[in-house]
């Protein structure tokens, strides 16, 4: 499903080079639930952006559904983002001027979906996150949890293959966070591949596989559900360990 082979991402900052990813290799299967953990600046967001086709690897190969996407044109990559990938962000990124319904319709706007079909599909997606009754509210009239659920409805309305969530609960209280995680895990259970970037060990432990990153490389992989929790300290900082992965 997702295959990365020796992926490097190097940013140029003035004269110097910053190695955000140092030869990451990774495979994520269809329908997997993977958590990416690691301290700030460890490269997990960069990795997520590359997987989400928002960024390109400087070196290395990235195959999505068996297709090399690193070298595709910007136009083709926008099509992949539109149809195959759903994004959920920490700060929701809902457009404040649009209603919940309008926000969910956005991706279909770019796909040129006819208005009636758009309305119907958006309503269905909002129903699936339990927000049918809030569809005509604007984001500022919704609670944080509700906003994130609207964002999830928007992420899945195009029926993507992968859902990429960048700190999806980072801005939510515990109860809303659990609601949101239950929701995206239910979607994962129906076959949606799920990659969650998080600082929160409790969230990470819900994943079938935890990939820990540090300093641009993969530190280790474990199955959280089988008790690899000792690799992730309660503060969310990984314990030092010989470099693995890359």
């Amino acid at each position: 499903m997702i295959e990365l082979e020796d992926v490097w991402r190097i940013f140029r900052v003035g004269e110097s080079e910053v190695h955000a990813l140092k030869g990451v290799s990774l495979a994520i299967g269809r329908g997997e639930h993977v958590a990416l953990v690691g301290p700030s600046g460890s490269g997990k967001s960069t990795l997520l952006h590359i997987v989400g086709c928002l960024d390109r690897p400087t070196r290395g190969r990235y195959l999505l559904e068996g297709r090399e996407v690193g070298s595709l044109s910007e136009e083709e990559r926008s099509l992949i983002r539109r149809h195959r990938i759903g994004f959920v962000f920490q700060f929701f990124h809902l457009l404040p001027r649009l209603t919940a319904q309008g926000n969910v319709e956005l991706p279909m706007l770019f796909a040129g979906t006819p208005p009636e079909e758009r309305r119907e599909r958006a309503a269905r997606a909002l129903g699936s996150v339990g927000l049918s009754h809030r569809s005509h509210h604007r984001p500022d009239q919704l609670s944080g949890g509700e906003r994130q659920r609207v964002a999830i409805a928007r992420a899945v309305v195009m029926d993507p293959a992968v859902l990429l969530a960048d700190e999806p609960t980072g801005n939510l209280d515990r109860a809303s966070a659990l609601e949101v995680m239950d929701l995206i895990e239910a979607m994962n259970a129906r076959g949606l591949t799920l990659v969650v970037v998080t600082h929160d060990p409790a969230i990470a432990q819900r994943a079938r596989r935890v990939i820990r990153m540090d300093d641009g490389g993969i530190e280790g992989t474990g199955h959280a559900a089988r008790g690899t929790g000792e690799r992730v300290s309660p503060s969310g900082t990984p314990t030092p360990e010989p470099r693995g992965g890359g």
Partner: protein
């Protein structure tokens, strides 16, 4: 992306900043209304002049003494012979000439009882009424006859008649011009200013008499009504040849109305274009205003642009969305400016009803096209900046 969706999306974004949107629209509206109002006035001025010439008669040739040329080389260079009644009679015999009227001009006071009024006195013949398309309010024009005969008939302009006679009927009354006595035979219908003379404020007497009154032997002008409009140039040649023969020198100037008209017309067109050029400056300023607003908008909405890209908007769709905003701003200003400009012209015309000012169709079309072009022209650069935005950096911020 569907076109209507694109417009709705852009309009929605503009509604988010009502004041900013209103000010940008107002900027373009000022420019467009200036273009519309100034072209309307310029075009009005042109039509006013054209109408004036049409009132003169479209087949008119005017012969005036003298020739514009450099003089002084030869000892007797520059001496010109005057126009005389003999010249007039010779011209009248030319085959292409339908009618012709001599014109001698002086200024004197016209008296009736104790009232007097200083006015231009035009000496001419009965043909003058047809050549200049004059209409009578009452009575008749000067009687036909040999121009050498003279006579004591006088025709009054409307203002002269009203001032001298008040409510009295002037027909048949005796007026004095200097020491000379004349009998009023007619009053001209109101005509207004016609280029050189205000025909409401003149009196007309037989040409021979006028030359005697003013003690001169020469004519001021000879007016010619040519048989067919197509023969204007040929008739002009005929007159020039004839006068050259008679005077043994090319010492008269013959002007056609078309030449005058096209000279005036091109002057006024240039004037209109200059006005439009000035108005366009304000339009360019408004365009820069739009560019500024769009740049601010792009900077402010970095997160939105990043989001749109993450949701699968292609670069050209982001470009189209921002360009649509700029074009909506500019076109909105165009329509508003058209309304304001046309309204201003209406108000102007209600104060000066005789001035035929109205925005020509081409100006309306050009104003709308121009506002659209301003939107595209000044919107492209900000929109391109939006597409170049790195979505990762844009999304990283709140």
């Amino acid at each position: 992306m569907r076109f209507l969706d694109l417009l709705a999306f852009a309009a929605g974004a503009l509604r988010g900043h009502r004041l900013r949107t209103a000010l940008s629209v107002a900027g373009v509206a000022v420019g467009i209304s200036a273009v519309v109002a100034l072209t309307a006035l310029g075009e009005g001025a042109r039509r006013y002049v054209v109408d004036q010439f049409a009132a003169l008669g479209s087949n008119l040739l005017i012969v005036l003494p003298g020739k514009v040329e450099t003089t002084g080389g030869a000892p007797f260079g520059g001496v010109t012979r005057d126009l005389t009644l003999d010249d007039f009679r010779a011209i009248a015999r030319l085959p292409r000439v339908r009618r012709t009227a001599p014109l001698a001009v002086g200024e004197d006071t016209v008296h009736y009882l104790d009232r007097g009024r200083a006015v231009p006195v035009l000496g001419t013949t009965s043909e003058f009424a047809t050549v200049r398309r004059l209409e009578m309010a009452s009575g008749d024009f000067l009687p036909p006859g040999d121009p050498e005969q003279g006579g004591s008939e006088i025709v009054l302009g409307m203002t002269v008649a009203q001032e001298l006679f008040r409510s009295e009927n002037p027909l048949g009354r005796i007026v004095r011009v200097g020491q000379w006595r004349f009998r009023v035979v007619g009053v001209l219908a109101p005509r207004g200013r016609s280029l050189t003379f205000n025909l409401d404020d003149v009196v007309l007497i037989p040409v021979r008499t006028a030359m005697r009154v003013f003690n001169r032997s020469t004519l001021f002008r000879i007016l010619i009504d040519v048989r067919a409009h197509a023969e204007m140039e040929a008739a002009k040649k005929d007159v020039e040849t004839l006068m050259t023969e008679r005077h043994r020198a090319e010492d008269v100037t013959v002007i056609t109305q078309d030449a005058l008209l096209s000279a005036f017309s091109s002057i006024l067109n240039a004037l209109t274009l200059a006005l439009v050029g000035i108005a366009s400056v304000s339009l360019a300023v408004a365009g820069v205003g739009i560019m500024n607003v769009m740049l601010v908008s792009v900077t402010e909405r970095r997160a939105e642009i990043g989001l749109l890209k993450a949701l699968g908007a292609a670069d050209r769709q982001v470009l189209a969305a921002f360009l649509a905003e700029a074009v909506l701003l500019a076109s909105g200003g165009g329509v508003a400016g058209l309304a304001v400009g046309a309204g201003a012209v209406r108000v102007f015309v209600s104060f000066y009803p005789s001035f035929p000012a109205s925005p020509p169709a081409w100006a309306i079309a050009a104003a709308l096209a121009l506002s659209f072009a301003v939107g595209v022209g000044f919107g492209v650069w900000p929109a391109r900046r939006a597409t170049r935005l790195d979505p990762v950096a844009a999304l990283a911020r709140r």
